[in-house]
């Protein structure tokens, strides 16, 4: 069972969304609806499912509806039509109290501009979710202390957010989201407001945390490199429509339409494609599944950029092996050249 599932979700902003819904379903475009009916289409028939423990990155340019999408999961925004299932339960049927409980225990959120409480210290900010849950001061302080350590902010517990730099503030935001130990982490352009070096740092830190915690993460970004780096699956939104969902290498190798093609055009493929994606299977390799000349062994999950320098230096053929050491394929200069060529 998927952790989160959206089924045919429509969202229209305006005075009377229900009256516009049939038009949208008949195929009237977003622009026409805005022009003629003065309603804005946020999401147009979006269905997706997110498995437990994976990082799902939702990508699109501004106005594509990605922030709207993430807010449907914790119901900060209610859909015009459709279903939102968390753990198989339709959260749209929840009462006010059930919804509060869901937000308190099951999911938490990290915001683009951090959304920290300026009148609370770092410690109080991190403990906010626990405070809302009604935990005792001592308990929540000890949990908050641990989380602050986990994001490397010890010593700053009693500072106010405005005394911290952007990167540090977002660490507070991350610690706050993790403090309630939720199953689902919603990250709305969490790193977009940070400068590139710190952003990279934060991405690494998130991946490191994730490798230990195995949360279900829904990550919103407009940065393709970021989505390729973080995402187990990527969904690309354009004008409120989900145009493609897939693994990073699928998106790179088989873009669904011109929009996605334009998006992935400038990607550094060596950074995204893994050995197993581009390798030839042994039976297709000329000399009966045996490498001729010098070979280097590479694990199948490695990215091209990790073995490329070595391969060029030694002018060797790459023998791709799986975790048990069995040969699963080969990469020669030809495959390499093909995979790195832009379509």
């Amino acid at each position: 069972m998927p952790k989160i599932e959206l089924k045919n979700v429509y969202k229209i902003f305006g005075e009377d969304p229900q009256s516009v819904l049939p038009l949208l379903q008949e195929g009237t475009t977003k622009e026409e609806i805005l022009e003629e009916r003065d309603h804005t289409v946020g999401l147009d028939n979006v269905s997706l499912s997110i498995e437990e423990g994976e990082t799902f990155v939702c990508m699109g340019l501004s106005g594509s509806g990605k922030s709207t999408l993430i807010r449907h999961i914790n119901r900060l925004i209610d859909p015009t039509k459709g279903e939102v299932l968390v753990d198989g339960v339709n959260v749209l049927k929840f009462s006010e109290n059930e919804l509060l409980e869901l937000r308190r225990h099951e999911m938490s959120m990290v915001f683009q501009r951090f959304g920290l409480f300026p009148h609370k210290t770092v410690m109080e900010n991190v403990a906010y979710g626990l405070e809302v849950q009604g935990k005792e001061l001592e308990d929540r302080n000890s949990i908050a202390e641990d989380q602050i350590k986990a994001v490397g902010l010890n010593g700053f517990e009693h500072q106010y957010p405005s005394q911290l730099s952007g990167g540090m503030q977002q660490r507070v935001g991350l610690a706050r989201a993790l403090a309630t130990d939720p199953g689902i982490l919603l990250m709305d352009e969490a790193f977009s407001a940070l400068d590139p070096l710190i952003r990279n740092d934060m991405q690494d830190q998130l991946m490191e945390l994730q490798s230990k915690l195995h949360k279900t993460i829904v990550f919103i970004t407009h940065d393709l490199d970021e989505s390729l780096k973080l995402g187990d699956h990527i969904g690309i939104l354009n004008g409120g429509k989900l145009v493609q969902v897939g693994r990073p290498e699928e998106i790179i190798m088989n873009p669904a339409d011109d929009y996605v093609t334009a998006f992935v055009k400038d990607v550094n493929r060596a950074k995204v494609l893994r050995a197993k994606t581009i390798m030839l299977s042994p039976e297709n390799y000329p000399v009966n599944g045996k490498a001729s000349g010098e070979t280097i062994k590479v694990l199948e999950d490695r990215f091209i950029e990790e073995f490329l320098p070595q391969m060029l230096e030694k002018r060797a053929v790459v023998e791709v092996i799986d975790n048990d050491g069995n040969t699963s394929g080969f990469i020669t200069e030809k495959e390499l050249a093909q995979s790195l060529t832009k379509n």
């Binding site: 900060l76 409980e101 937000r103 409480f117 009148h119 809302v132 490397g152």
Partner: protein, 347 residues
């Protein structure tokens, strides 16, 4: 928008017709033309406003007010007794204290409320001392004025802040209350001082009511504005963590709106002091009646002295509320970034 415009025009048209018919009906017979056809023969009624076109508002209001006093007399008397009792108790307590103790008390309060700012404390202490220095008579009168202002402000806070919060939450409510606030601020104070006297008699209570009417609007407006100006993302964060409406209001919205609310309190206090002088004309005792006395005797010196005393009171109130507002603001927006360098994460 188009439908809106037509709707309004229709209402106005019918209201206009209704007003003309009612005015004509209730006009005194001697003002009315003998015959409708006279209006067509003699057009002089188009030059000066005709006497028969006079909407009768005074009579029904007067009779309505009489009815109110008869029906709800007890209710108003209850309010009167409560406020008067509060005022008398407060005034007697402070007037009974030795004056040096009062000065010291004011200084101590200022010191702690302002977050231990020495400058503010010295200014306020000096002003307090100077009021008595101007004229010994002013000391007790200043205390009376202060008590009236404090009770008036207390009413403003207790009633105004909840209204402001409600307005921030419900745009429809805001639309209906905003015109009422405009009315409260623009209607000449004597218009509600007169019914105040009729309902509560002469003295402190109508002054307190007048203060409420005059001084509550800025507080309500700034509370509403303050709550709405709280960063949307911060409010959203509270929502995302499952804060209930109550938790959101007390934990996030009010604390962050507090600098604005304090600005509203400050404005209210200043307006209350202005109203206290006007209220002296309906027999409210306090420093205002010294101004009135000076006016009646054409005694410029006396009026100036009393005027200075009121300014001093205003400075005292202003400094204290401002300093308190600043103290809160410091807490929500601390001075500057301590270290701009990112901390390397240690996981």
């Amino acid at each position: 928008m188009k439908t809106n415009w037509k709707y309004l025009a229709t209402i106005c048209f019918f209201a206009f017709c209704g007003l003309i018919v009612i005015s004509y009906q209730y006009a005194k017979p001697r003002y009315k033309p003998d015959n409708i056809s006279d209006l067509l023969n003699d057009f002089s009624w188009l030059i000066n406003w005709p006497k028969w076109l006079d909407f009768p508002l005074m009579q029904p209001i007067n009779s309505g007010f009489d009815w109110l006093i008869v029906q709800y007399g007890l209710f108003f008397e209850g309010i009167n007794n409560f406020l008067l009792g509060l005022y008398t108790a407060m005034k007697d307590a402070v007037v009974g204290l030795p004056w040096p103790l009062v000065v010291i008390l004011v200084i101590v309060i200022t010191y702690f409320v302002s977050g231990k700012k020495i400058n503010t404390t010295i200014t306020v202490g000096f002003c307090t001392f100077f009021i008595g220095f101007l004229s010994p008579r002013y000391w007790d009168k200043a205390i009376m004025t202060t008590c009236i202002v404090l009770i008036g402000i207390f009413l403003c806070l207790v009633i105004g802040i909840p209204i402001g919060i409600a307005m921030a939450r419900k745009p429809k409510l805001r639309k209906t209350i905003l015109p009422v606030l405009d009315l409260m601020q623009t209607i000449p104070s004597f218009c509600y001082l007169i019914p105040g006297i009729l309902l509560f008699g002469l003295g402190a209570v109508p002054a307190i009511i007048a203060i409420f009417v005059y001084a509550a609007p800025p507080l309500i407006r700034l509370t509403d504005l303050g709550i709405r100006l709280v960063d949307e993302e911060v409010v959203e964060a509270a929502d995302a963590f499952g804060a209930s409406k109550k938790q959101k209001l007390w934990g996030v919205q009010i604390p962050l709106a507090l600098p604005n609310i304090m600005q509203g309190v400050n404005q209210s206090v200043m307006m209350a002091l202005a109203m206290v002088v006007i209220a002296s004309m309906i027999g409210t005792r306090g420093i205002g009646d010294e101004v009135l006395l000076g006016l009646q005797q054409l005694n410029v010196g006396m009026a100036t002295e009393a005027g200075i005393a009121i300014v001093l009171l205003a400075i005292i109130f202003d400094r204290i509320t401002q300093a308190y507002g600043d103290k809160i603001q410091d807490k929500t927006r601390p001075k500057k970034v301590k270290s701009a360098l990112p901390v390397k994460a240690k996981v």
